[in-house]
C-alpha cells in the first residue's frame, strides 16, 4: 500500500489558496496509486492562528473548506489537519476522509504549545484508521511524546505536525523517530508544515522510518516537497545527511524572510546600514531573498562614527548592488540638543545623548519606510536583546527582526557562511571590534563582557535553563555571571516592545520566555 506525504506551505486564513494546493496533491497522490494521502496539522487553516481559532466565522470556513476537499477525495483516504469546533471549544483534529466522505475526526490530546494552549481544548488523542487491511495510528502533534505503546497490531504510525524550526532540532527529530519506529516495530511517518509565518519557520523535513528504524524517505528541509512511501516494501535505507547548523539557520532565515514578504504582499525593504556586522548580515540576506533592486539602505553616520563605518557600509551596498543614501545625523542631533538646552541645563551629557542618536536613526528609517512603502528590517541580535544593550524605539524599530534570536557569535558564524564562496560582507566588518559608536572610542566591551563569554553565559541561562550556581561551577566568573543574570532579568520591559523576532533557537526571548514586568528581581538569586 502506498502512502503519499504532502509537505506544503499554507497561509493562515487563505482557505482558497490552501484548498487548491491540497486538492492538487490529492489528485497527484491518486495518480501515483497511493491509497492514503496525508497533510500536516491545521493544514486547512494555516497555523498558528491565535484567536482566529476561537472565531466562529473562521471555524465555519475551515469546515466548508474541508467539505470541498472531501468532494475531491474519491478513491483515496485523505488525512488532513484542521481546527475543529466541538461543543463550545476548539480542538486540533485530523479529518479522516474515506472515498469522498468525512468518516470521523481524531483530536489532539496534549496541547502544549504556548501559541495555542489557551485556544485549544484537550481531545482524546490518537486512534486507529484501517485502510486496505492495514492499521494506521493517527497521532496529532505532541501526542507522540506521551504515547509510545500503540500495541502490536500497528503497521504505520502517522503523525500530523507543525513543528517550527529551531537550531539543532532536525537531527534530534530524526534520532527520536528512528527509535520510536524501532521500539514499536512500526513504520513511522511524520508530515510537517513548511514555510514562514511571521516569526515562525516550519522547516518541513517530513520523513518515513521503517520498522527497523531506518530512514526510507526524507523530505526536503525549507522547501515544499512530496513523496510516496510503499508500506513494508523494501525501500532502501537512506543515509541521514549531516546537518550544518550555520547553513540551516541561513536557510531558515531566508524562508522566514521570503514568506513574511510574500504572504503579506510586501516587496521592498529598507534598513540602516552602520558598517557593523549585524546590519551587514541582515542586508546581505535581504538582498539575496528579495532581490537587490528591492533594498534601500540608509547610512546615518554621527560625529562618533569612525571613518571605516561608512566605507564598509558603502562597500557592501556596492557589492550587493542595492540603493543607498548617506544621511548624516549630526545636524538633527544638534537640533534636538538645542531644543532641550533649557530643559537639560546644568546636567551633564550621559546615555541620554547616545539614545537620542539611535532614536534619530529610527525616525529616519521609519520616514524612508513611510515615504516609499518599504518594510523596515530590524538589525539587533539576541545578545543585545538579552542584556538590554539597545535603545528602545531606536534599535528596536522594525517590522521583523531576523537576527534577534541569534547570539552575536552566531551572527559572525552566519557572516562567514554568507561569505563562503567569496567576500560579500567586507572582511573589515567581520574583523573589527564591535562598537555601537555612540560616543568617542566607544566599544561594546566597555559595558559588556566579551561576546564569547557573554554568549556562553546567556546560552546556559536561556537555552539550557541553568542556575547561576551551575554556571559558576562550570568555571565562569561569579561576578560576570551575576551581572549577566541581572541584566537578563531586568530588561524584559525592552523586549516587551521589541518587534517580532524570527524564532531560530530553542528559546526565543519574548515568545518562548516571558517574565513579569514588575517583580522582585532578586527572587531567583
Amino acid at each position: 500500500m502506498k502512502i503519499a506525504i504532502a509537505q506544503l506551505n499554507y497561509t493562515i486564513g487563505d482557505f482558497e489558496g490552501n484548498k487548491e494546493k491540497i486538492i492538487c496533491h490529492i489528485r497527484k497522490a491518486r495518480k501515483d496509486g497511493a491509497k492514503v494521502v496525508m497533510f500536516s496539522e491545521q493544514a486547512i487553516s494555516g497555523r498558528p492562528a491565535y484567536d482566529l481559532l476561537n472565531d466562529i466565522v473562521f471555524l465555519e470556513k475551515c469546515n466548508e473548506t474541508l467539505s470541498e476537499i472531501a468532494k475531491e477525495s474519491s478513491d483515496i483516504t485523505t488525512i488532513i489537519g484542521l481546527p475543529l469546533q466541538i461543543d463550545n471549544s476548539t480542538i486540533s483534529a485530523a479529518a479522516i476522509i474515506h472515498n469522498g466522505k468525512i468518516s470521523r475526526f481524531i483530536g489532539k490530546q496534549n496541547v502544549i504549545s504556548r501559541d495555542e494552549s489557551y485556544h485549544l481544548a484537550r481531545s482524546h488523542g490518537y486512534e486507529f484508521v484501517r485502510v486496505e487491511g492495514r492499521n494506521i495510528a493517527v497521532v496529532l502533534g505532541s501526542d507522540i511524546y506521551s504515547e509510545h505503546d500503540f500495541g502490536n497490531d500497528v503497521d504505520v504510525i502517522v503523525r500530523l505536525k507543525s513543528t517550527r524550526y529551531s537550531r539543532g532540532i532536525i537531527e534530534k527529530r530524526y534520532d527520536f523517530y528512528s527509535k520510536i519506529a524501532y521500539k514499536t516495530n512500526s513504520n513511522v511517518i511524520a508530515v510537517n508544515q513548511l514555510g514562514g509565518q511571521t516569526d515562525i519557520v516550519y522547516d518541513g523535513s517530513s520523513f518515513v522510518f521503517n520498522r527497523k528504524g531506518e530512514a526510507v524517505a526524507l523530505l526536503k528541509s525549507f522547501e515544499e516537497d512530496y513523496a510516496v512511501f510503499e508500506v513494508d516494501s523494501d525501500m532502501p535505507a537512506l543515509r541521514i545527511p549531516e546537518q550544518d547548523k550555520a547553513r540551516n539557520v541561513y536557510r531558515a532565515i531566508k524562508l522566514g524572510l521570503k514568506d513574511y514578504f510574500v504572504k503579506n504582499g510586501f516587496k521592498k525593504a529598507c534598513l540602516g546600514l552602520s558598517g557593523g556586522i549585524d546590519s551587514a548580515v541582515v542586508c546581505a540576506l535581504a538582498a539575496e531573498v528579495l532581490g537587490p533592486e528591492n533594498i534601500h539602505v540608509l547610512m546615518m553616520p554621527s560625529q562618533y562614527s569612525s571613518d571605516h563605518s561608512v566605507e564598509d557600509a558603502v562597500k557592501l551596498a556596492e557589492t550587493l548592488g542595492i540603493k543607498y543614501d548617506i544621511v548624516p545625523i549630526p545636524g538633527i542631533f544638534d537640533s534636538v540638543n538645542n531644543s532641550l538646552t533649557e530643559v537639560f541645563s546644568g546636567v551633564d551629557q550621559d546615555v541620554t545623548e547616545e539614545n537620542i542618536q539611535s532614536r534619530i536613526r529610527g525616525v529616519l528609517i521609519m520616514a524612508l519606510s513611510n515615504k516609499y512603502g518599504y518594510i523596515v528590517l530590524n538589525t539587533s541580535n539576541k545578545s543585545e536583546c538579552a542584556v538590554g544593550y539597545g535603545t528602545m524605539y531606536g534599535d528596536t524599530v522594525g517590522a521583523l527582526s531576523i537576527l534577534g534570536d541569534l547570539y552575536k557569535t552566531e551572527v559572525y558564524e552566519l557572516a562567514r557562511h554568507i561569505n563562503r564562496k567569496g567576500e560579500i560582507i567586507p572582511q573589515n566588518t567581520i574583523n573589527k571590534e564591535p562598537s555601537a559608536e555612540l560616543r568617542p572610542d566607544h566599544k561594546d566591551s566597555d559595558s559588556l563582557p566579551l561576546y564569547d563569554i557573554l554568549d556562553a553565559i546567556l546560552y546556559r541561562l536561556i537555552e539550557e535553563n541553568q542556575t547561576i550556581e551551575e554556571i559558576t561551577t562550570a568555571g565562569f566568573e561569579n561576578d560576570t555571571v551575576h551581572k549577566v543574570f541581572r541584566m537578563l532579568m531586568a530588561n524584559e520591559y525592552k523586549r516587551y516592545q521589541f518587534c517580532p523576532v524570527l524564532r531560530l533557537s530553542t528559546c526565543t526571548l519574548g515568545t518562548d520566555r516571558i517574565l513579569p514586568l514588575t517583580y522582585n528581581h532578586s527572587c531567583l538569586l
Copy 2:
C-alpha cells in the same frame, strides 16, 4: 465559627514582603478568635508570574515561604494559595495548614486564564476541609464555574481567587455568587487579590454571601481589607452598593498606576501634554497619584498646533502645579526634512511628515525620561489602538499606557469624573473637536467615523464579539462597519509593539485579543 478573610496586595517574587503581610494577618485572625484564615490564590508568590511559575528556584522559594508561614499558624487553620511543583509540572494550589502543620494541598482543575494556561497543569479541583465540625469546600479560581453541586453537607464554600478588575465585573460577580449561595444553600466566601501588577488591577471586592444569598460581608474595592465572618450567625444582610462605572475605572487606574510605580521602585513620571483630552486625563491622574512634584511634562507644539493647544496644556499644568517645559518641534522637523531632501526629492508630502512629528515628540519625551530617570506615561486610547490611528514609536511610546483600554468616549467620561468637584481639566480641552494636529486644519474625523459611532462599532466587535452582520443588522451603516472591521484586523502589527496597557475592559487589545501578524485579512468577511 469565625473565618477571617485577608485581602492583601502582594508583589511577585517578594517572598519576604508577602510573608510578613500574611503572618501579620494570621496573628490578627487568631487574636480575633477566628478558627480559619484565608488568603487569595497565589498569595505567597504574587500573580501572574509567567515563566517564573516553572522556575525551580522560584518554586522552591514558594515552598520555603509556605513552611515559614506554617510555623506561625498554630491554633488556626490557614488556607493560602501558591504555585506548587507536582512531578514535573506546576499547579495552582491551596495549602491547608492545620495548627502549624501543612496537612495537604488542593489543586486547581480548570486553568483557563491566558496568563497561565501554558504554565499550569490541571489538578483535581475542589475538596472538603473539616474545621470545628464544619464542612468547608475549598475551590480555586475558575473551578467555581464548572462546579455548582457540592452536595448537601457543605457549610461554607470558600473560593481563593485572583480576578482582575474589568469594567462592569464587580456587580456581575456579586450577582453570580449570590445565586450560587442560594442554590447550594451554603455560605460562600471569596477572597480576591488586591493591587496593581503592571497591566493588571486586582480590585479586591472580596465578599461573603449567606445561605439565603444575602451579602453579609463586602470587603473594599481597590484597597486592602480584612474581615471576620461568623458562620451561620445572624449577621445582618448588607445592601450591595450601586457601582459607578466611571468611578470604578478611575479608582482602578489610580491603583494600577500607583502600584506600577511603588512595586518597581519608581517615583517620577513624564509625558507629552498636547492640549488634547487624552494627555490631559493621563496628566491629571498622574499628578493625583504620584504627586504634582513628581510630574514633568513637555508641550511640543508644531507649526500645525492651534493656539489653544499650548494654552490649554499650560492651563492644566498650572492648575495641577506640575513642572512643564515648552519645546517647539519645528526646528527639529525642518532639520529632519532637510536631511531627507535628496532621499525624498520629487516625492510629495504625505503621512510620512505627520509621522515624523509624532516620532520627534517620542525622541524628546524619551530624552527627558533618560536624562532624569522619569517613567514615560503613554497617552493613547483604545479607539486609536484599535484602528491603528497612531504613529509607531511616536504615539506608542511609554512604559505604561493607562488609557489604552478605554475608548475615546470613555476617556471623556473619565475627564468629567475628574472634574466632578470643579474644573481640573480645562473645559476647552473637553469641548474642542478631537485632532492630532499633524497637518493644517487636521481633524480626527477626516480619517475616522465620529467617535460615538466608532466606539459603538468597536465595542460590538471587540467586547461583544459580534459579527459584521449582527452590527449592520443593529442599524450601523454597512460601509462604516466594514471600514472599522478592516482597520481593526489590519493593525495588529502596531499593537504588537505597543507599550503595556492597563487592562480595564473585558477584552484588552494585545493581551485578551491576539491575531496573527500574517494572515489573509479577508478570511472573516
